[in-house]
Symmetry: C2
Subunit: 430 residues, 2 copies
């Protein structure tokens, strides 16, 4: 057996302490598989005094992260601090500058600074590994970068935020509104006190930008992701989705189109019998479609101390075994700057819900607007129950361009018989 791989862990929150526990609990097993011991020798965190339930007494403590980065007694630094910028970014830059490989769970940093960091790592002959940054314990980074490496990826999509998936699942199962289910999720600890990072789609969009970079060999472009969260998903839409054979999921989708790389994160209707529709509760799921392999579906726990620690340790064992594939699957210097497909160029099907006055002729008006924008209707549900008052009309379209749909909805919103702003949810054909 070789010499130990000496690890420094920066950040002792949920993931950091989880990683310490895993490396301790499965020590001989991991050493046997890695061919050498993986030994934590140093840690760094903000508050030295706090009790984290793990014994740190034998480890070097760093208050100054730049000293950890330069410690020649550390072979790999695990950056588990978080945040796109600030101390996490400074630490990772300093480590890579010093030629020290980094393992990180930091999706925000990778989605924003990933290309720069990959270039820095490769220029210094070292690497940056981040299995834990996407979908927690599911080895989806490895699947895209290695397992499906022979394939041209057509599309990659997934449920990338467990909090949102939990809320949508609960809303569907109980019929209750968003705010009520969110409050319950906060009580149960499935949602943060400030939930916006999750429910507005930011967290999932970070992960999508990373998946897209891996799938299409491009520089991660978080700023190019179209993002819509789940605040506006209403129980009535969930019920109509069910009736139409769909489920509503917060989906991240990346695909290459004639207009460029499309990256979008928004509530989606997916066929109820599709594998991704079955990914429920706090679970995450990712589907990659390759030209030879077809669709590969991976599902599992996307967050939490233990699954995330599992991914961190997978990266450490890769390093211990001497495996360091290119950060985003191709040499960083060859990462492409794909043109960004604007959402107006998106082509797909749509679910539209309108609240209209229940009187003759309303449907004809709406149909005329859609016809004028060359949008054809696939299905329509109209249940007149309230003569002279408001009733919902729901319709789904055949494939059309988002620009046409946006224009049609703007026109429809001005019709006197339309009482509320139209609600639109994209349908993803799987």
């Amino acid at each position: 057996m070789d010499t130990p791989l000496r690890i420094g862990i920066a950040g002792l929150g949920t993931v950091g302490t989880g990683t310490l526990r895993l490396l301790d609990r499965n020590r001989p097993l991991i050493a046997g598989r890695a061919g050498r011991e993986i030994r934590v020798v140093a840690v760094a965190a903000r508050d030295r005094g706090r009790d984290r339930g793990v014994d740190l007494s034998s480890l070097r403590w760093y208050d100054d992260l730049s000293l950890m980065a330069r410690d020649p007694g550390i072979d790999v630094v695990c950056e588990l601090i978080g945040g796109a910028d600030g101390p996490a970014l400074d630490l990772v830059r300093a480590c890579l500058e010093a030629g020290k490989p980094v393992v990180t769970a930091n999706k925000a940093m990778l989605a924003v600074h990933g290309a720069e960091l990959a270039e820095l790592a490769e220029s210094r002959g070292t690497t940056l590994a981040y299995e834990a940054a996407v979908a927690g314990g599911i080895p989806v980074v490895k699947a895209l970068r290695e397992g499906l490496v022979g394939n041209r990826i057509r599309r990659v999509y997934g449920i990338l935020n467990g909090t949102c998936n939990y809320i949508l699942t609960q809303m569907r199962q109980s019929g209750r509104p968003f705010a009520e289910v969110l409050a319950e999720a906060q009580e149960l600890g499935y949602a943060e006190a400030d939930p916006s990072f999750d429910i507005d789609g930011i967290d999932a969009a970070h992960k999508l930008a990373i998946l897209a970079a891996l799938a299409f060999g491009g520089r991660p472009r978080f700023d190019a992701v179209h993002i819509e969260g789940i605040r506006h998903v209403a129980p009535v839409d969930i019920a109509f989705a069910e009736e139409l054979g769909y489920r509503i999921k917060l989906l991240g989708v990346a695909r290459m189109t004639a207009a460029g790389l499309e990256q979008r994160l928004h509530p989606c209707m997916v066929p109820g019998d599709a594998p991704i529709a079955q990914v429920e509760g706090v679970l995450n799921g990712v589907v990659a479609e390759g030209d030879f392999v077809g669709a590969v579906v991976c599902e599992g726990r996307g967050a939490g101390a233990e699954p995330t620690a599992s991914a961190v340790v997978a990266d450490l064992v890769d390093l211990a075994r001497g495996c360091a594939p290119p950060v985003f699957g191709v040499p960083a210097s060859r990462l492409e700057d794909h043109p960004v497909a604007p959402m107006s160029a998106h082509e797909g099907s749509y679910y539209i819900r309108l609240m209209v006055v229940d009187r003759p002729g309303v449907l004809a008006e709406i149909a005329a607007v859609l016809r004028d924008h060359e949008i054809s209707i696939e299905a329509l549900i109209q249940r007149a129950r309230n003569p002279g008052q408001g009733v919902p009309i729901v319709l789904t379209s055949h494939e059309t361009r988002e620009a046409a749909m946006t224009a049609a909805l703007a026109r429809i919103a001005t019709l006197p018989s339309v009482l509320e702003p139209p609600r639109m949810i994209r349908i993803e054909r799987l």
Copy 2:
């Protein structure tokens, strides 16, 4: 970019020609990701004259596989001949002896000779890669050997044969009997003219032995797999399963028990809402349960030229990138000889179907036998429709030992009111 990785392909059947096509079609993409060109320089097959729809004119042709193994102009040999022994095994041994890495899709060879070949490879400082041997294009070997490497695996199970899954799915959806659906599958090309290798579970058992070796760090032991195929699955059992909330799948399950390593491949009832129950048609699915990661589910196409080629190329790119983890996840010399848990020691729940005379007291007799064997009943379906004639009784048990169930069924079979041999299907708790 480095020098090309020079490949020899032995065997030009479905997988061999698929691999040639993939390497040709995605050549620049693969070279970019691998950091070097992956170039096929030589091929070998039985019949040189046959038209395979791929251009072989620029490639060296070997009639003698031992010469291919020793060709210093070949860096990696892909063994795509198949068969546990014979020319495939001779070729792989010769390559590894010569220090040449081998990529193979040969599940039978690995399940039977895997430990010997891993030892040989490691003693010569080379390696043997086999992503294509299990579940086709799904990167499940990589997931177990690398992605979940930090975890103690509790259980690994999966749907490992697409032909059987197609037949069971069709039987469920159409209510038709096994023989009829098999005949149709043969016409459609989903089942071989001689289907026994698939439907009797041999093919899936090979894959299970490999998964178990990876999951538990043991020598592959195909001979230790308990195997039952799907010939005896009846439409009536599929219908009762549905009624009880289950689906019947041909499942391979490996888990470590107090009695040793349990490896079993047999029709199973699984909860209808479990992810593995949703894996339908020709698809394969594998679930690995780790102590930190929880359950990770992977689903995709498990056979066919294109998905299998995808897996072969993934192994080639790993080699091109210089990644060669231990063959079964730990050094071959440290692979364990796990004690084999006998099926009699299996603990689980059971589905039992009896054909009995429809008269008072029959159920009491059966219940008494079960009680005598300390088996407790969980659910029971009895629909008397045929006084004095045969009616089915279906029951499910709570967790019990297989030895007790076997003894109870032997006793029940002797009761005068029991008209047919009892049918038993194991229930897997997920």
